[in-house]
Amino acid sequence: MLRELVITDFKLRYQGSVLGYAWSLLKPLFLFAIMYVVFGVLVKLGSVEHYPVYLLFGIILWTFFAEATNQGLASIVGRGGVIRKVSFPKYIIVLSTTISALVNLMINLFIVFVFMFISGVQIQLSIIMLPLYLAEIYLIALGLAFLLSTLNVKYRDTSHIWEIIMQAAFYATPIIYPLTTVMDKSVVAAKILMMNPIAQAIQDARYSLITHQTITVSSLFNNEWYVLIPLGIAILLLVIGALYFKKNSKYFAENV
């Protein structure tokens, strides 16, 4: 059933558009192109080596996170018609939308690899840690999707609020700018930013795949145990989200 829903989600996403699936590749690429022209060429934020790939990878991870939470948020209300007619485990709906975002991420990662090859980025041993960080981002997104989809059943304002939060979070996360830019102003601010589990995971993923120049939680605090704080927040989010969802999902059919 999960399988069918993921397939359906995927088939429907670009239904009727000429380029079809290509859009899921083109969208982050265009965002990357814009960001690169503005921040890489005009403003010149790029003090990290392989900045274009570094930027692209960050954008692709963020796009995945945004897609999984946004679609997860709308998933329960969007499938209200089915929920009111058949009884089945509701978490499958949230799971299927986030998994279809995950499939998208996998396709996009392929582009990252192509760009890495073009820019001559050396693959390092640290790449073996990459799946862990991707899993972390996925689980944070899943936890939030559980939480938000439940909230959205009660308050339809949730989607608008989340849109604003995501916009702020995009700039609060070191995606387009290297963390050093913040550290130049205030190290404390940089440390606070890195307590955000998404920032931590994206930076660690970049460290493992693109360049060891990436500043991660461990290098910022000079202590690798500090990574447990954002990790703890991530796990907490997942647990709270899942429990809140579980408690309320019994009444989705009545309230959606």
Partner: protein
């Protein structure tokens, strides 16, 4: 018949269900905050189901009837585990497939094939089960050449056929059927009936929710009648149909019980009332009469402008609108009278619901003074064996 039911298929015990009805558009934070300040709860609770308890035997064809708003759909959704009861217990022995709606999750942008798999998945079938059933489904729906077309290019009849073909594949011991028969043409309904008969013969438990009393009388073993969220009783089908009919009449049209919607005519004469009596008595029958009895239809009218030589014409129609008999009073003169009685010896109609159309004309049938398409509804009952066709000829079987 009761003896080969061994186990209970469904047990419902002391079930209550209330709903919160929001007063205003409540799904926003703003309203919620305003309500908190005003001290308004923002909703009122509505008791939908009130202490519902019943049991369904294995292999039983169990009907649930009730007027709109009586809690039928809520009960059904509780049985299907879509809603959960406030208190009380619902136990289903074995798995249950709900057909609350045909084609759940059908998406117009997907092909027929993709929709079959999606719908199957939602009904709880695995991919391998669906692979095995796919050909049968397509064959039954007679849509072999359309499976790779998008559903939006299907006619509505084709969609219903496809949905129904998937639904009847469900092999669960308990089936929940809600008004499925209300859609589709008569050919489709016939197909549904054949499938129900087959399922019944296979000994599966079927819970059937409907407004169609003729279907109830055709299939059901026992019928639960719901009224305002409470169980009015569990009866045999013909009794239930009669009670349901009485509920409809008494609740719907408290005063003008027999004179209903579609009336037209010059108005020189108007219909006042129609009553049905059984035998020679003048007792009100509540519009429920027994097959085989002598029945009189007493048509009362008000001759406002005193036209001469009026003729009363009747049409007895079944629920499909088929005119079964159309007598008229041409042979007698109706001048100063205010009523006419049509006496039927040994009422032959098979059990079911019938409507009576009354028309009042001049003697040449040129001017229609009054016409009521549905002057009244009445119910024919017979607590005997199942009957087929439209009328009972009361013939005798003899060996020569």
């Amino acid at each position: 018949m009761m003896k080969h039911y061994k186990e209970k298929a469904v047990i419902v015990k002391g079930v209550y269900k209330t709903f919160r009805l929001p007063h205003e558009q409540h799904s926003g934070i703003k309203q919620r905050i305003i309500n908190v300040f005003k001290g308004i709860k923002g909703y009122e609770t509505l008791k939908i189901l009130n202490n519902i308890s019943f049991e369904i035997e294995k292999g039983e064809f169990f009907g649930i009837v009730g007027r709109n708003g009586s809690g039928k759909s809520t009960l059904l959704k509780l049985l299907a585990e879509i809603y959960i009861p406030d208190t009380g217990l619902i136990k289903i022995n074995g798995s249950l497939t709900p057909f609350i709606e045909l084609g759940v999750g059908f998406n117009p942008e997907l092909t027929g094939r993709e929709n079959v798999f999606l719908n199957g998945a939602l009904l709880g079938f695995s991919k391998t089960e669906m692979d095995l059933m796919f050909d049968q489904i397509v064959e039954f729906a007679e849509l072999e050449n359309f499976m790779d077309q998008k559903l939006k290019n299907y006619s509505s009849g084709m969609q219903v056929r496809l949905a129904f073909s998937i639904a009847i594949r469900a092999n669960t011991p308990v089936l929940l059927v809600d008004e499925v028969l209300a859609v589709g043409d008569s050919e489709f309904q016939r197909k549904c009936y054949i499938e129900f008969r087959r399922m019944k013969e296979e000994g599966r438990t079927i819970i059937f929710v409907t407004h169609d009393m003729s279907a109830v009388e055709k299939f059901c073993d026992r019928v639960l009648v719901l009224k305002d969220g409470k169980i009015a009783g569990i009866y045999n089908p013909s009794k239930a149909a009669a009670i349901y009919q009485r509920m409809n009449i008494s609740d719907d049209q408290p005063e003008d019980a027999s004179i209903a919607i579609e009336n037209w005519g010059t108005g020189d004469v108007v219909l006042d009332d129609v009553k049905i009596y059984e035998g020679n008595s003048k007792h009100d029958t509540d519009n429920i009469v027994s097959q085989g009895n002598d029945v009189s239809f007493d048509i009362k009218f008000i001759n406002k402008n005193q036209p001469k030589d009026i003729v009363v014409g009747l049409a007895f129609k079944d629920i499909y609108g088929v005119n079964l008999s159309g007598p008229n009073s041409l042979k007698i003169k109706l001048n100063s009278s205010s009523n006419v009685i049509y006496k039927v010896p040994k009422l032959a109609f098979v059990p079911g619901v019938y409507t009576l159309t009354v028309a009042i004309f001049d003697k040449n049938a040129e001017i229609e003074y009054f016409h009521s398409e549905e002057a009244m509804k009445f119910n024919v009952i017979n607590e005997g064996q199942e009957q087929y066709g439209k009328v009972n000829l009361f013939g005798q079987w003899n060996q020569s």
